[in-house]
């Protein structure tokens, strides 16, 4: 799996389309250029060593670590919104109140678990 594929899968749990991958690769180059070698190395290490990038990014966001990973997640969220096939992730087209409540409550719990896992992953990465 390449960078775009890994990040997309971590956020959306599905497969990235070709046009989105191309846009991500182009944008990624531009934005990465503004980061230091250390940040880029840390990011590459994370991509290589950690499979649950979602948990790692979540903990990094709160711990001010791995800024490039946090940025690439945001980048993917912006870019994916422009593709018709991913619009459903952003736009609720029908009234689904019960599902809405349940998924937000479940999301809160899931995020707590992800956060704890992310903290561990940060430690593993530091010691690696």
């Amino acid at each position: 799996m390449d960078e775009a594929e890994k990040i997309f899968r971590s956020i959306f749990k599905s497969q990235i389309s070709l046009p989105l991958r191309e846009n991500f690769d182009r944008a990624s180059k531009v934005f990465t250029a503004a980061y230091s070698k250390e940040d880029i190395d840390a990011y590459n290490r994370a991509l290589e060593k950690i499979s649950d990038l979602e948990a790692l990014e979540f903990a990094s966001r709160y711990r001010n670590r791995l800024p490039l990973l946090v940025l690439k997640f945001k980048l993917m969220v912006y870019l994916a919104e422009t593709t018709p096939e991913n619009l459903g992730f952003y736009v609720n087209r029908k009234d689904r109140r019960l599902i809405g409540y349940i998924s937000i409550a479940y999301g809160g719990l899931r995020s707590m678990v992800k956060f704890i896992k992310g903290m561990f992953l940060l430690r593993i990465l530091k010691n690696a």
Binding site: F58, K74, T82, P84, V91, N92, L98, S103, G118
Partner: protein, 531 residues
Amino acid sequence: MHDVLIIGSGVSGTSAALRFADNGIVPVILDVGIEPPQEPEIKEKFYSYREKNDSFKLMIGEQFEGLNNLDRRKKVMPAKLVPPRMRFVTDSLKDLYPVKEINFSVIQSFAQGGLANAWGAGVYRYNDRDLRSFPIKKSDLLSYYERLSKELGISGENDDLVPYFGQDNLLQKPLRLSDNAQKLMNNYKKKKKKLNKKGVFIGRPRLAVLSQTFGERKPCDYSNLEFWQPNLSHLYTPSQTLKKLIKENKVVYKKGYLVRSWFRKGNAVIVQVEHIKDRKIEEFECKNLVLAAGAVNSARLALTSRKDSNTRLTLLDNAALLFPFFFPGRIGCRLETDAFGLTQLNFIYDSNEDEIPIQGSILEITSPARAEFFQSFMLASYDNLRLIRYMLPAIMVMQLFLPSSAEDAAAIRINENNELEIYGKNRNINKNLINKTIKILRILKAYTFPFLVVRAPNGHGIHYSGTLPMLESSNRLYTCSKFGELYGEPGVYVADASVFPYLPSKNCSFTVMANAMRVADRISLLLKGRT
């Protein structure tokens, strides 16, 4: 020699030009005049378009303009100015006209039509309470407000907010409310007595947005395109008036010129301009010069023309507070994909006769990119997407503008290298106001928490003013007479918000426009030999 030269084609310059045209005078407008990119118009609603088309070009752009706010280490821009088709509004002249911002984030426009190409079109009359530090009264502005109502086309209602916005008998019916706004309005009606007792009033905004056909302009189509496409027919911009005046030969419009300074020669004012393309310098001679370059640039011109790098001028703005709030009962509802994506309602908090009331705009958030909210949610990425999908349809944002404060005002000056420097000051925000507003929202069954309230960066009120204030009798440099004439500079007038000595908690542009017409009337009378 020209009778009148106007610098700038924003709301102030265009309104002055309109009044000159009414008076049979043909002014010359000098403007940088950047125009929108030539892109095919989106003829569908925003969300239907996106269901069928890849929207990378529309939302992000080939230069990744739409990703401006991705990296928070860079200058953050208000979301409405970020989309690729809106970038022309704030295209800067970094090399030609450098600015140093210190604890202040200035939003400037060199576009044809100025900042109002991206405005929210909220048009509010000032009343005598708002004008209490001004040397003029509401009655001095009334006829100009009425003339402008006929030009702009304003929708709204003479409702509970009439004491604050004034009676306007030319209003078109208000726009259709979004479901969230309707819910808030229903809750207000139920609790009206209690809220009014506390000094809280809610009503329809006055918007230069059409709900009915108006001349050649079409009514609002609830397309949610307000963030994405400039020159929407239903939303008034000064370019519409400008184009009409040019077509009718009532104004001479010269774009591509950056005005550098002016000086006096006998009775004439000589204006020095630089061509943007080839940087050639040219001079224009006039009897009357009208500064309408926006409060920052008009002040810059005044300082540069005096070669004054010692004076610091005050720069006022409304500090802006953003209160996102939600209706629990609307979590999981469908996103309203056919809505008007800007101000739905206005909120007034008038707790005490002696204090200036606080005004808020209650905004629908259906138009900006959903991704803009991703960073504000606090869960893991996949769960943040669920919040975007199920929570955002239940959320609105209230933007409160705080009255300007002389103690916390920013300052501007020109340095020895002729660069503009802007120094911002951090303003202490009254926590009590935040807590009270949250309590009021709770009465309306809308919920938020203090930690969700965001203070916009210094300068993001985008109501710059006060740099060249008008006084009853101006008696020192960089102040104006009550007719906008700059002290010690006969024939040089200021028509933009520079002359406002104070900003109440209200969007200022409609009053800027009315005052620009008043200034134009004064010059017209003098030109015709009557005072």
